[in-house]
């Protein structure tokens, strides 16, 4: 009964004790004449009463003594002040969630069966570092963060973190806080972590060990590894690009979706382009606003949309199949706060294949890509990084393989349900950019 929808919202407010007497009277007179709402009313009342009457349990008697025994063994407060990140209230829940993300960034070389995981040799000394390909040519080198009115600062969390400036091919060790420019690449070696902040708007990136990213003005390219991103951009756009996906944060466009959880659910089905979704959503939103009785039910109105921070983790894994000389890239995007639009990109055509909106607490995997071919550059990368290269693999370099593994290619799952392996980090050091990966040719893929 569609006309009952508004009473469902009133009922929710009633349960929140947020209705005034006039609104309560409206609800009650509907309940008198509508048996379904009357049943709902009873069920909800039972649930709320049941929750509020839940009895407190007594904690184990030794809790205080156990805590104090630990407290006695702790160093003085000075020891903690030195070694931690700022502002616990600011980071809030997201930081804790981010802490739960499993490490990733691995290369698997499957030579028949069984599947073998290869640990490439770790680079121990700077002078042994191989020279990576020249930077992508069509990044706008003329602009700089300072010209754009901000700084991008790299802080090393621990271990070896290296920077390749946009105009150089040399990797340099980063130690003290380092200013980054657009086009700079950062990689964390095994066991190393880094923290990158766009100082103007507090957009923050955290890199797990064995990650490689490139910094752009309003984007980060994640070549491999595991990157956690928090965006507080004000009315702006930020996206994470991987070899086969783009996760875009449109704070102004999608933040309100949080408030329509059940309505959004239907948007997940089918291929919807971003504008269609946005339009559908805005239609719904406008419709709700036009109904004066529903005003106040959507308190997002009280919040400037851009004030909703977004946090997500982007994880890129690569799978190299020695049998047919193809490389598969898997991107996982987990959303911890707000919503993120994730598009899967076909590297062969550089076109968007499908598009989903991932709401907070959920993740999506894009793993439909087998790259069209393993290019000479990719082959070079293998050799430079000292990876064993199968002769069969080399012999077949350049062959076209166009069959996607999975037509749909995208799955949406609640983030809490799926376990990401925690020990797959092998310190892979493969570049996925350049000619072998049209996804990184700098062409704007989205309108």
């Amino acid at each position: 009964m569609p006309s009952c929808e508004k009473y469902e919202d009133l009922l929710q407010q009633y349960l929140d004790k947020a209705l005034d007497s006039a609104q309560t009277a409206v609800l009650m007179s509907h309940i008198e004449v509508c048996s379904r709402c009357r049943l709902d009313f009873k069920l909800y009342s039972k649930i709320v009463a049941g929750l509020e009457e839940m009895q407190d349990l007594t904690p184990p008697g030794r809790l205080t003594s156990d805590v104090m025994a630990q407290v006695e063994g702790l160093p003085g407060f000075d020891a903690y002040v030195q070694s931690r990140q700022p502002a616990p209230w600011f980071w809030g829940l997201s930081a804790a969630m981010a802490g739960a993300i499993a490490v990733a960034g691995f290369l698997m070389l499957r030579a028949g069966s069984p599947t073998a995981v290869i640990n490439p040799p770790m680079i121990a000394q700077q002078d042994q570092l191989p020279v990576l390909p020249a930077p992508i040519s069509n990044i706008d080198m003329d602009s700089s963060p300072r010209a754009a009115g901000q700084r991008i600062v790299l802080n090393v969390g621990g271990g070896q973190v290296q920077v390749q400036k946009a105009n150089s091919t040399k990797w340099q060790l980063a130690s003290a806080p380092t200013d980054l420019g657009f086009g700079d690449k950062i990689r964390t070696l095994d066991g190393a972590t880094a923290h990158i902040e766009y100082t103007q708007d507090k957009t923050t990136l955290k890199l797990r060990p064995s990650s490689l990213v490139q910094i752009l003005a309003n984007a980060v390219r994640v070549f491999h590894g595991d990157t956690w991103i928090r965006v507080d951009k004000i009315g702006s756009h930020f996206q994470a690009e991987t070899p086969n996906a783009v996760a875009s944060v449109h704070g102004t466009r999608y933040s309100a979706e949080v408030h329509y959880p059940e309505k959004i659910a239907s948007f997940y089905k089918g291929d919807l382009d971003e504008n269609k979704v946005a339009r559908k959503f805005l239609d719904q939103y406008t419709k709700n606003l036009s109904d004066s009785r529903m005003n106040g039910l959507f308190p997002m109105m009280a919040y400037p949309m851009h004030a909703t921070p977004v946090s997500l983790a982007v994880q890129v894994n690569m799978l190299l199949d020695a049998l047919d000389a193809t490389k598969t890239v898997q991107t996982n995007v987990q959303v911890f706060q707000s919503t993120v639009n994730v598009a899967s990109i076909d590297p062969a055509t550089n076109r968007e294949i499908s598009n989903v909106i991932v709401k907070e607490g959920h993740q999506t995997s894009v793993k439909n890509m087998q790259l069209a071919k393993l290019t000479p550059m990719a082959e070079d990368d293998f050799v430079k990084w000292g990876l064993p290269v199968d002769s069969k693999l080399l012999a077949r370099v350049g062959e076209e393989v166009s069959k996607p593994i999975n037509e749909a290619g995208m799955t949406l799952t609640p983030a809490g349900v799926r376990q990401v392996p925690a020990s797959d980090s092998t310190g892979m050091k493969i570049e996925a950019e350049g000619r072998g990966n049209p996804g990184y040719d700098g062409v704007e893929r989205r309108q």
């Binding site: 104090m68 407060f77 949080v258 349900v417």
Partner: protein, 195 residues
Amino acid sequence: MENEDYKLIKLCLKGKREVFAQLVDKYNKRVYNMAYRLTSNPEKAKDIAQDAFIKIYKSLDRYDPKYKFSNWLLKTVSNLCIDYHRTRAQNTASLEVILSSGAENAILAHQTAINTTETELEDRLEAAELQSVIREGIELLPIDYRAVVVLRHIQNLSYKEISQMLNLPMGTIKARIHRARKLLKGYLEGRLPKV
């Protein structure tokens, strides 16, 4: 008294560690219950309660007296429980997943109304062990929803307090609680005994 808490914290910061025991004694019941409702595991709840107190102790110098100390503790417990759920090896399907597998549409479309009269429902509610069904329902809620329901309905915090605590807009908190109640209702409807 929150001011009292701040006095105790300042004493701790001056080196009187033993004073922290008073804060633990005062809040251990709330902290343990929060952890228990979010983990459904007494042993884990105890571990998380203990970890929360230690974590708070290490950060005491950053306590902001603008906020209630108890809320800081509950926030810490909530974060630890969320971490626990996210890293658990075998995750059970959440209520949201169960309901979205097809049952949700039936429930949310109120199909039960077609077959249930009011008197029948009352009889079935009478016969049900409501508390245990609600407890089961909570355990099946996705952790983000579970946390806000426990904070709102069991810990009796206001939307504003939960919003500050979780650093999320109040609208998000409300939407989650409304959604969680709807999921619980669906679960309850499905679990009512036939009479």
